[in-house]
């Protein structure tokens, strides 16, 4: 679907006409990311991150496939094979650092993309399906990243695998058999390493598939925009190409500069020294933490230190950690305000910024050792996290009085819109 004023693909080149008549792929591209896709004219730089996330996935797949040509998924030689890549394979050091830091960049970009969604309420009707698919992508990314971190078979790999699969042992009755089934043994070893490698190779392609659905769903209503006012007329939009291809090209340049600065000048900044020690099942590192992108969730996991009613603390932590992401699935129905954009919602905006700070605090505590005051801070911060999504958002959306919305995107951009007199300036607020 597209807006009625979308440009139609009319190839002048006879070759393109020939192809288009037999396989309308050029037409498909033109309508998806070309001049045939009208996009709100007021998108800001926050709308660059979807394309960047797609780029990061391709980057990870390309470097990952290449690394898999040299990596050996066997507990006896995995660590040495990674060092072989770092020392002997042509450009192996660069490819491995590119893959490891590429994961971090992917998460930086995706977190920005998600928080963009929070602020502009991109999850609201008619875009719920885009949002739900996005949460699925995020869950798949977390699983993929976790399994990838196990592959070098260093100390953090091993103990990460042990601790994360240990989460499943908290489930009553089936927990321990489930953990052993996941690992194919009583502790992480060859069986676990091999299946993690297999799945780490598979899941990115599953992610790619879900991304296709995510973008497909996006093309039904079209992109949301900073005002949250739906596209009404042709003057509200510009064609994706060249307006946003050029803007995305610039964004990509910035992304690549940050990424290359990491790869070439601080490749181990976001890693952990202990993962350069080969896995040792008999000795746990003094301070085990997951990769930085899991820290907020890790803090929530660790915040539950006391049994609550009849539920053991361990199970509470696991439930809460998974709920912290699952709650995103319900967001379209928790936030019922008819206004989308945080720009026009003063109260919502304050709580949004509080959430950003809260997640940063959770992240900091998740990376810190499990001792006071970090545990107590993460308890408070976790409390806010759940209250924000499940209690505050529903209340705010019913009590808040939004500021007046512009009549249209055109009016928001140009300050006037000759159609504006034909309709009331703000939609009725429920």
């Amino acid at each position: 679907m597209s807006f009625p004023w979308a440009n139609e693909y009319k190839p002048t080149n006879p070759l393109m006409q020939w192809v288009d008549n037999r396989l309308p792929l050029p037409r498909f591209v033109y309508n998806a990311v070309g001049a045939g896709y009208p996009v709100p004219r007021n998108l800001n730089y926050m709308w660059n991150f979807g394309v960047l996330a797609g780029f990061a996935l391709v980057l990870q797949i390309v470097t990952g496939v290449v690394l898999a040509m040299h990596y050996a998924a066997n507990a006896g030689v995995a660590f040495d094979s990674v060092e072989h890549i770092m020392r002997d394979v042509n450009w192996g050091w660069m490819l491995r650092y590119a893959h490891a830091n590429g994961a971090s960049m992917f998460f930086i970009v995706v977190y920005t993309h998600i928080f963009r969604g929070f602020f502009y309420s991109s999850y609201k009707a008619p875009r719920e399906m885009i949002w739900l698919l996005g949460v699925v992508i995020f869950l798949l990314m977390m699983a993929t990243a976790f399994m990838g971190y196990v592959l070098p078979w260093g100390q953090m790999s091993f103990w990460g695998a042990k601790v994360i699969t240990g989460l499943f042992s908290a489930i009553p009755l089936v927990g321990t058999p489930l953990q052993q089934w996941l690992l194919g043994g009583f502790a992480p070893d060859n069986a676990a390493l091999n299946r993690f490698f297999s799945l780490h190779f598979l899941l990115p392609f599953v992610i790619l598939g879900v991304i296709i659905l995510h973008v497909w769903a996006l093309h039904i209503p079209g992109s949301s925009n900073p005002t949250g006012v739906e596209v009404k007329q042709e003057s509200d939009t510009v064609p994706f190409h060249p307006y946003y291809t050029a803007k995305d090209g610039f964004g990509l340049g910035i992304f690549l500069m940050v990424y290359c600065a990491l790869v070439f000048f601080a490749p181990n900044l976001l890693g952990h020294p202990d993962n350069y020690i080969p896995a040792n099942p008999l000795s746990t590192p003094a301070h085990i933490v997951p990769e930085w992108y899991f820290w907020p969730f890790y803090a929530i996991l660790r915040a539950f230190t006391s049994d609550f009613m009849f539920i053991p603390a361990k199970l509470m932590g696991v439930l809460a950690m998974f709920s912290a992401i699952l709650v995103w699935f319900f967001l379209p129905w928790l936030d019922t305000s008819p206004v989308r954009s945080g720009h026009y919602r003063p109260l919502f905006r304050k709580f949004f910024y509080l959430l950003v700070v809260d997640v940063l605090v959770l992240g900091y505590c998740g990376g810190a050792p499990a001792e006071e005051p970090y545990v107590m801070i993460s308890q408070i911060a976790s409390m806010y996290y759940f209250l924000h999504f499940l209690v505050i958002l529903p209340i705010v959306s019913s009590v808040e009085t939004p500021q007046p919305l512009p009549f249209s995107i055109t009016e928001a951009v140009l300050g006037k819109d000759e159609h504006a007199t034909l309709a009331p300036a703000t939609p009725a607020v429920a």
């Binding site: 390309v62 290449v66 040509m69 040299h70 072989h84 020392r87 002997d88 394979v89 042509n90 450009w91 192996g92 660069m94 490819l95 090209g249």
Partner: protein
């Protein structure tokens, strides 16, 4: 003035797209070059082989650069047979003398890799078929080599390759 503006515009657009193209191509280089032999493979050093136990008429298979090498102690009859051939009639004209070390012409050292498509020819192992010219016989496509491991019949274009080698002593040969 307007014309200049358009020209500057086009220039920037072309330059930006070219930069993207050059960058993309440059990024391909490490992705391609990573498949070339790595430093440890290239460093695969020479192999020393003890040949004291090989009596005339016998041969052994050794390994060099992960490929078989045939080391054969030729009998005087085999040497005579090899020398009797008119070199100019051969597909890949080489004398036995040229293929062995001076003074040690009885030691024929060749790669055990058929020059046709890379199979390992028979004839070096105990009891293996040596082919009608008494050297080696490749079972894959029927290439036949003579006692100097020269191609005589079948599809292979070249004689079995002689790897670089030298005798460290009378009983030890160093290949590579």
């Amino acid at each position: 003035m307007a014309g200049d503006g358009v020209r500057r515009r086009d220039f920037i657009n072309i330059a930006a797209v070219s930069f993207a193209g050059v960058g993309g191509l440059a990024a391909l280089y490490p992705l391609i070059s990573q498949m070339a032999p790595s430093a440890d493979v290239l460093a695969e050093s020479s192999t020393e082989i003890d040949i004291s136990a090989i009596s005339p008429g016998q041969a052994i298979k050794a390994v060099w650069r992960k490929q078989p090498v045939f080391i054969r102690n030729l009998t005087p009859e085999e040497i005579k047979a090899a020398d009797a051939v008119d070199v100019s009639t051969l597909r890949d004209p080489e004398t036995l003398e040229k293929r062995t070390t001076a003074g040690k012409t009885n030691w024929l050292i060749t790669m055990g890799v058929c020059t046709h498509l890379g199979c390992v020819p028979l004839g070096a192992g105990e009891g293996e078929v040596k082919g009608e010219f008494g050297g080696y016989f490749c079972p894959c496509h029927g290439s036949v080599y003579d006692t100097a491991a020269r191609i005589r019949k079948g599809p292979a274009p070249k004689n079995l390759e002689v790897p670089p080698h030298e005798f460290s002593s009378d009983t030890v040969v160093k290949i590579g």
